[in-house]
Protein backbone atom coordinates (compact mmCIF):
# COMPACT_ATOMS: atom_id res chain seq x y z
CA UNK A 1 0.00 0.00 0.00
CA UNK A 2 2.86 2.37 -0.84
CA UNK A 3 0.97 4.95 -2.95
CA UNK A 4 3.43 7.52 -4.29
CA UNK A 5 7.08 7.01 -3.37
CA UNK A 6 9.81 9.58 -3.97
CA UNK A 7 13.53 8.93 -3.85
CA UNK A 8 15.74 10.31 -2.51
CA UNK A 9 14.20 12.15 0.43
CA UNK A 10 17.11 14.56 0.84
CA UNK A 11 19.97 15.61 -1.38
CA UNK A 12 22.64 18.30 -1.43
CA UNK A 13 24.23 19.24 -4.75
CA UNK A 14 26.87 21.65 -5.91
CA UNK A 15 26.05 24.18 -8.60
CA UNK A 16 26.41 22.60 -12.02
CA UNK A 17 25.90 19.01 -10.89
CA UNK A 18 23.17 16.90 -12.35
CA UNK A 19 20.75 14.52 -10.70
CA UNK A 20 17.48 12.67 -11.20
CA UNK A 21 14.57 12.47 -8.80
CA UNK A 22 12.47 9.34 -9.03
CA UNK A 23 8.74 9.07 -8.46
CA UNK A 24 7.00 5.72 -8.40
CA UNK A 25 3.30 4.99 -7.97
CA UNK A 26 1.58 1.67 -7.56
CA UNK A 27 -2.03 2.79 -8.12
CA UNK A 28 -2.10 2.34 -11.89
CA UNK A 29 -2.59 6.09 -12.33
CA UNK A 30 -2.34 7.53 -15.82
CA UNK A 31 -1.44 11.08 -14.81
CA UNK A 32 1.69 12.10 -12.93
CA UNK A 33 3.01 15.49 -11.88
CA UNK A 34 6.09 17.18 -10.49
CA UNK A 35 5.70 20.27 -8.30
CA UNK A 36 8.14 22.43 -6.42
CA UNK A 37 7.27 24.06 -3.13
CA UNK A 38 8.85 27.34 -2.07
CA UNK A 39 8.01 29.46 0.99
CA UNK A 40 5.07 31.76 0.42
CA UNK A 41 4.38 30.43 -3.06
CA UNK A 42 2.56 27.19 -2.48
CA UNK A 43 3.19 24.41 -4.97
CA UNK A 44 3.96 25.19 -8.58
CA UNK A 45 3.70 22.68 -11.39
CA UNK A 46 6.97 21.92 -13.17
CA UNK A 47 6.03 19.20 -15.66
CA UNK A 48 3.33 16.62 -15.93
CA UNK A 49 2.45 13.50 -17.88
CA UNK A 50 -0.90 12.20 -19.06
CA UNK A 51 0.38 8.77 -19.93
CA UNK A 52 3.37 6.57 -20.60
CA UNK A 53 5.68 8.17 -23.12
CA UNK A 54 4.10 11.63 -22.88
CA UNK A 55 5.18 14.75 -21.01
CA UNK A 56 4.13 18.39 -20.95
CA UNK A 57 5.33 21.65 -19.45
CA UNK A 58 3.76 23.15 -16.41
CA UNK A 59 4.09 26.58 -14.88
CA UNK A 60 7.84 26.56 -14.14
CA UNK A 61 9.55 24.06 -16.50
CA UNK A 62 12.85 25.85 -17.19
CA UNK A 63 15.94 24.00 -16.00
CA UNK A 64 14.14 20.68 -15.65
CA UNK A 65 13.52 17.69 -17.87
CA UNK A 66 11.23 14.72 -17.31
CA UNK A 67 10.67 11.26 -18.68
CA UNK A 68 7.83 8.76 -18.39
CA UNK A 69 9.22 5.56 -19.90
CA UNK A 70 7.08 3.37 -17.67
CA UNK A 71 3.56 4.09 -16.50
CA UNK A 72 4.47 3.74 -12.85
CA UNK A 73 7.56 5.98 -12.92
CA UNK A 74 8.04 9.69 -13.55
CA UNK A 75 11.59 11.02 -13.46
CA UNK A 76 12.59 14.64 -12.90
CA UNK A 77 16.05 15.63 -14.05
CA UNK A 78 18.24 18.61 -13.33
CA UNK A 79 20.99 18.75 -15.95
CA UNK A 80 22.95 21.61 -14.37
CA UNK A 81 21.72 22.46 -10.90
CA UNK A 82 21.44 26.10 -9.85
CA UNK A 83 20.90 27.59 -6.38
CA UNK A 84 17.47 28.82 -7.54
CA UNK A 85 16.42 25.19 -7.76
CA UNK A 86 16.81 24.71 -4.03
CA UNK A 87 13.33 23.63 -3.06
CA UNK A 88 11.12 20.81 -1.89
CA UNK A 89 9.89 18.70 -4.79
CA UNK A 90 6.62 16.83 -4.69
CA UNK A 91 5.39 14.17 -7.04
CA UNK A 92 1.71 13.39 -7.45
CA UNK A 93 -0.44 11.03 -9.47
CA UNK A 94 -4.09 10.71 -10.39
CA UNK A 95 -6.51 8.78 -12.51
CA UNK A 96 -7.43 9.92 -15.99
CA UNK A 97 -11.02 10.65 -17.11
CA UNK A 98 -11.59 7.18 -18.44
CA UNK A 99 -10.37 5.31 -15.41
CA UNK A 100 -12.32 4.04 -12.48
CA UNK A 101 -12.34 6.47 -9.54
CA UNK A 102 -11.48 9.31 -11.89
CA UNK A 103 -13.15 11.78 -9.52
CA UNK A 104 -10.51 11.17 -6.88
CA UNK A 105 -7.94 13.95 -6.60
CA UNK A 106 -4.20 13.70 -6.77
CA UNK A 107 -2.17 11.57 -4.40
CA UNK A 108 1.08 13.12 -3.21
CA UNK A 109 4.42 11.72 -2.21
CA UNK A 110 6.26 12.86 0.90
CA UNK A 111 8.62 15.15 -1.00
CA UNK A 112 12.32 15.44 -1.78
CA UNK A 113 14.25 18.22 -0.10
CA UNK A 114 16.95 19.44 -2.48
CA UNK A 115 19.63 21.97 -1.64
CA UNK A 116 21.95 23.45 -4.25
CA UNK A 117 25.11 25.04 -2.91
Amino acid sequence: NAGVTQTPKFRVLKTGQSMTLLCAQDMNHEYMYWYRQDPGMGLRLIHYSVGEGTTAKGEVPDGYNVSRLKKQNFLLGLESAAPSQTSVYFCASSHSPGQQNSNQPQHFGDGTRLSIL
Binding site: G40, M41, G42, L43, L45, P105, F108
Partner: protein, 113 residues
Protein backbone atom coordinates in the same frame (compact mmCIF):
# COMPACT_ATOMS: atom_id res chain seq x y z
CA UNK B 1 -5.74 33.68 -15.39
CA UNK B 2 -6.56 31.14 -12.76
CA UNK B 3 -5.31 31.96 -9.29
CA UNK B 4 -5.85 31.17 -5.65
CA UNK B 5 -5.34 33.59 -2.80
CA UNK B 6 -5.11 32.84 0.88
CA UNK B 7 -5.09 36.25 2.60
CA UNK B 8 -3.68 35.01 5.90
CA UNK B 9 -0.04 33.96 5.82
CA UNK B 10 -0.03 32.90 9.45
CA UNK B 11 -2.77 32.39 12.05
CA UNK B 12 -2.45 31.60 15.74
CA UNK B 13 -5.37 30.23 17.73
CA UNK B 14 -5.80 28.77 21.18
CA UNK B 15 -6.59 25.12 21.54
CA UNK B 16 -10.35 24.65 21.68
CA UNK B 17 -11.07 27.85 19.79
CA UNK B 18 -12.83 27.90 16.45
CA UNK B 19 -10.91 28.32 13.21
CA UNK B 20 -11.64 29.77 9.80
CA UNK B 21 -9.05 29.84 7.02
CA UNK B 22 -9.91 31.98 4.02
CA UNK B 23 -9.55 31.06 0.37
CA UNK B 24 -10.55 33.01 -2.71
CA UNK B 25 -10.12 31.90 -6.28
CA UNK B 26 -10.22 33.40 -9.71
CA UNK B 27 -11.54 31.07 -12.38
CA UNK B 28 -13.82 31.33 -15.37
CA UNK B 29 -16.21 28.59 -14.35
CA UNK B 30 -16.84 26.73 -11.11
CA UNK B 31 -13.71 24.74 -10.55
CA UNK B 32 -13.01 21.73 -8.45
CA UNK B 33 -11.90 22.97 -5.02
CA UNK B 34 -9.64 21.33 -2.49
CA UNK B 35 -8.10 21.88 0.90
CA UNK B 36 -4.85 20.10 1.72
CA UNK B 37 -2.89 19.99 4.96
CA UNK B 38 0.84 19.57 5.28
CA UNK B 39 2.46 18.68 8.57
CA UNK B 40 6.15 19.57 9.00
CA UNK B 41 8.35 17.37 6.83
CA UNK B 42 5.38 15.56 5.35
CA UNK B 43 3.58 15.47 2.04
CA UNK B 44 0.13 16.85 1.37
CA UNK B 45 -2.97 15.20 2.75
CA UNK B 46 -6.39 15.94 1.30
CA UNK B 47 -8.80 17.33 3.89
CA UNK B 48 -11.82 17.75 1.67
CA UNK B 49 -12.96 18.54 -1.84
CA UNK B 50 -15.88 20.16 -3.60
CA UNK B 51 -17.01 19.10 -7.04
CA UNK B 52 -20.72 19.93 -7.12
CA UNK B 53 -23.91 19.68 -5.09
CA UNK B 54 -24.17 20.68 -1.45
CA UNK B 55 -22.02 23.75 -0.91
CA UNK B 56 -21.06 22.71 2.61
CA UNK B 57 -18.65 19.82 2.49
CA UNK B 58 -17.37 17.73 5.34
CA UNK B 59 -13.83 16.48 5.48
CA UNK B 60 -11.54 14.49 7.67
CA UNK B 61 -10.33 15.50 11.13
CA UNK B 62 -13.51 17.49 11.83
CA UNK B 63 -12.95 20.08 9.11
CA UNK B 64 -15.61 21.50 6.85
CA UNK B 65 -15.63 24.05 4.04
CA UNK B 66 -18.29 26.15 2.42
CA UNK B 67 -18.33 27.05 -1.26
CA UNK B 68 -19.80 30.48 -1.98
CA UNK B 69 -20.07 31.09 -5.68
CA UNK B 70 -21.02 34.76 -5.32
CA UNK B 71 -17.86 35.45 -3.34
CA UNK B 72 -15.58 33.01 -5.20
CA UNK B 73 -14.62 31.66 -1.81
CA UNK B 74 -14.04 28.27 -0.26
CA UNK B 75 -13.27 28.90 3.42
CA UNK B 76 -12.17 26.11 5.72
CA UNK B 77 -13.60 25.85 9.23
CA UNK B 78 -13.25 23.80 12.36
CA UNK B 79 -15.35 24.40 15.49
CA UNK B 80 -12.66 23.39 18.00
CA UNK B 81 -8.98 23.28 17.16
CA UNK B 82 -6.63 20.65 18.58
CA UNK B 83 -2.90 21.09 19.09
CA UNK B 84 -2.31 18.45 16.41
CA UNK B 85 -3.95 20.72 13.83
CA UNK B 86 -0.86 22.94 13.73
CA UNK B 87 0.32 22.68 10.13
CA UNK B 88 0.36 24.41 6.76
CA UNK B 89 -2.96 24.53 4.94
CA UNK B 90 -3.29 24.90 1.20
CA UNK B 91 -6.36 25.78 -0.82
CA UNK B 92 -6.30 24.57 -4.41
CA UNK B 93 -8.39 24.65 -7.57
CA UNK B 94 -8.47 22.60 -10.75
CA UNK B 95 -10.69 22.51 -13.82
CA UNK B 96 -11.32 18.83 -13.15
CA UNK B 97 -10.48 16.40 -10.40
CA UNK B 98 -7.53 15.01 -12.32
CA UNK B 99 -6.19 18.06 -14.10
CA UNK B 100 -3.43 20.46 -13.20
CA UNK B 101 -3.96 21.82 -9.73
CA UNK B 102 -3.26 25.43 -8.84
CA UNK B 103 -2.30 25.93 -5.24
CA UNK B 104 -2.63 28.96 -3.03
CA UNK B 105 0.42 30.19 -1.10
CA UNK B 106 -0.66 28.48 2.09
CA UNK B 107 -1.66 29.53 5.60
CA UNK B 108 0.49 28.44 8.51
CA UNK B 109 -1.53 27.57 11.61
CA UNK B 110 -0.08 27.66 15.09
CA UNK B 111 -2.04 26.37 18.07
CA UNK B 112 -1.45 27.67 21.60
CA UNK B 113 -2.01 25.06 24.31
Amino acid sequence: AQSVTQPDIHITVSEGASLELRCNYSYGATPYLFWYVQSPGQGLQLLLKYFSGDTLVQGIKGFEAEFKRSQSSFNLRKPSVHWSDAAEYFCAVAPTSYDKVIFGPGTSLSVIP
